[in-house]
Amino acid sequence: MAVEARLRWGLVPLTFAADAPFLVPYRIRKQRRRETLTDMSQLRIVVLVKQVPDTQNVTGDAMKEDGTVNRAALPAVFNPEDLNALEEALRLKDRHGARVTVVTMGPPAAVQVLRESLYRGVDEVILLTDKAFAGADTLATSYVLSLAVRKLGGCDLVLCGRQAIDGDTAQVGPQTAEKLGYPQITCVSRVDELVAPAGGAGGAVTATRSIEGGYETLTSLLPCLLTVTGEANEPRPPSVKLVMTYKGIAAESMPDYDDTYLDPESDAAEVCMVGRDGRPVCRAKVVQWDHLALAADREALGLRGSPTRVKEIESVVLAQSEARMVTPDEAGLAILVHELIEEHILG
């Protein structure tokens, strides 16, 4: 299989392969003893991501005859700014060493964004799925996400995209931070510096955010939640090796949080490699939690836990074309400009 895979990878452009984390089978190199991933001093990062319908490419097939959107025809994608948040987490991992956990809430099919996260080199992925979560607005969503972060034992840094392209609310980040009691820096266009917690000191993060007509730089004590914008970075592509490793991975219900499978020495560890940072990397599961696993209050979940209701939805209908077409030559444009000046549209 390895040979076959290598042959296939031979066709992959070099830049693509060069971006892939350096992974070699760990069990083969077991003589190189290393600290385990359960190292308490290690930086812990949780990335919150969402699978969304691709509302940015609503054209052609996605439009119904009456000019409204056919949502079912929109492909499900990794919310773009969540990919930026993930990239920021992976860069911090590359620089400081960190354990990166990706959490998503959604239907079982949302496992795809978790796979995409594994393909890029995260350590652990968690799927929050339950019929009881359905119909959640931002308040009920942030409740579930905050419970998941708590169940993970908290962390040093929570990262998420500024907003999701299906709702564009930018609310879930700050609401999750409030529920965790973490401070927040939203709309981050650059993470300037991270001082990892060490020797009893709590650590801090400095980030720059865009504001109207300028920017501001803030420093927060850890733990802290950052929401990241598309300006922050260029997300890395999936690693071919990791795609081969994880493409078939399925979600597995694990009511109790037990991270021993992340320990390369444990029998539960199914995939063990040495990562680019020299640490053992062990990943094998998509942990799945429902409301019972999270010990959630039913009243605060899903539609029941959502203060807002949609009263009415109106589709925006494309009007029929009424544009007067102008010939793109000197004569045509001269007439157009003349007309606009005559009508005092242009001065």
């Binding site: 299906d166 930018a170 401070p183 504001i211 109207e212 007509g213 300028g214 927060s220 009263k311 102008v326």
Partner: protein, 354 residues
């Protein structure tokens, strides 16, 4: 049927160095309409430090506030999410407004969700309209709810959101979609000075706002205003570029056309995301809403989210190589052609005429 309720309509005012954000004043205008319909008063929450912020209170009354809740403390000089959340949450708990409105600015969108979470109430982001009306669900009718109207799903739908059971009803509202009220210096109102105390540890106090050290876990290192604010809203002519522009260099052509026509440069979300132009130039649902006399869309296909921000322009000229691009459906004039050739011709035609 649930009857009408007491509780004022509030606007959380955003200010910088004693100057109120325009959207906050626009909100006071709409708050007046909502409050008159409900038969209640208007409250303005004003937080900051020192004389400039105190001087702003009468200006808010002139624009329509009946009561200004003034939280003036040295530690509130710069907007920071946690202490400002503490102020708004404390005031809402003490005075129980039925509606609280915020500008959908960077700081409004930072603050409002944090407050909503702390109060466990609903919040609708980026509204383009607010109305009062009745809502029925499951055999229950709720009178006089706040209809929070906003585009969603990439601007492909317009949703009306309500918050039937939870109070206050909260919304952030986009700048420029509501009419700024005239200042009426003869209006009278009350300025309530809110006692604010800084403490190292939490103190239980109902009569004042207590800011603890934990509220200052985030500290402002620097804030830079890059002088030239892009005045898209006030522009007579907006020339916008989209994906079809192709590159940062291509965008120079859009900028030249804008300069020639005495206009301002706009952009679609895609062009901003591509990094060709700053986000302050973005026109559309998540950017600025513009209503210029002339809007020129260059290489913009015309997603609903973009059209939502420009379709009220007096005249729209679309230049696009794809004659079937949706932008032509809102345009008054269309030019199907390569913008890299059309724009120089257009510049030449204008220079010859003017």
């Amino acid at each position: 049927m649930r009857g009408a309720e007491a509780g004022d309509v509030w606007v959380v005012v955003e200010q910088h160095d004693g100057v109120a954000a325009e959207v906050s004043l626009e909100l006071l205008g709409r708050a007046r309409e909502l409050a008159e319909r409900l038969g209640v008063g208007i409250g303005a929450v004003l937080a900051g430090a020192g004389a400039p912020v105190r001087a702003l209170a009468p200006a808010l009354i002139a624009r329509g506030a009946d009561t200004v809740y003034l939280a003036d403390h040295d530690d509130l000089g710069d907007y920071l999410a946690l202490p400002y959340t503490c102020v708004v949450v404390g005031l809402v708990r003490a005075h129980r407004p039925q509606i609280v409105l915020y500008g959908a600015t960077t700081s409004g969108r930072d603050l409002a969700p944090r407050v909503a979470s702390a109060l466990r109430t609903g919040l609708t982001a980026d509204c383009t309209d607010l109305r009062i009306g009745d809502f029925s669900a499951k055999g229950e009718t709720y009178a006089d709810l706040l209809f929070q109207i906003r585009p969603a799903f990439g601007g492909n739908i317009i949703a009306t959101i309500v918050s039937p059971e939870h109070r206050p009803q909260m919304a952030t509202v986009r700048e420029g979609v509501m009419v700024m009220p005239e200042a009426d210096e003869s209006r009278t109102g009350t300025v309530v000075t809110v006692p604010v105390q800084r403490s190292s540890a939490p103190v239980a106090a109902a009569d004042r706002i207590v800011l603890t050290d934990a509220d200052f876990a985030v500290r402002l290192v620097k804030r830079v205003q890059e002088g030239k604010r892009v005045d898209l809203k006030g522009a007579r002519v907006v020339v916008s570029g989209g994906v079809g522009v192709g590159s940062r260099e291509g965008f120079a052509l859009v900028e030249e056309l804008a300069r020639t026509l005495g206009g301002v440069v706009g952009a679609s979300r895609a062009a901003v995301d591509a990094g060709w132009v700053g986000h302050e130039h973005q026109v559309g649902q998540t950017g600025t809403t513009v209503r210029p006399k002339l809007y020129i869309a260059c290489g913009i296909s015309g997603s609903v989210q973009h059209r939502a921000g420009m379709d009220q322009s007096a005249r729209i000229l679309a230049i696009n190589s794809d004659p079937h691009a949706p932008i032509f459906s809102v345009a008054h004039y269309g030019i199907a052609g390569d913008l890299h050739k059309v724009i120089p011709l257009l510049i030449k035609a204008y220079r010859t005429k003017a």
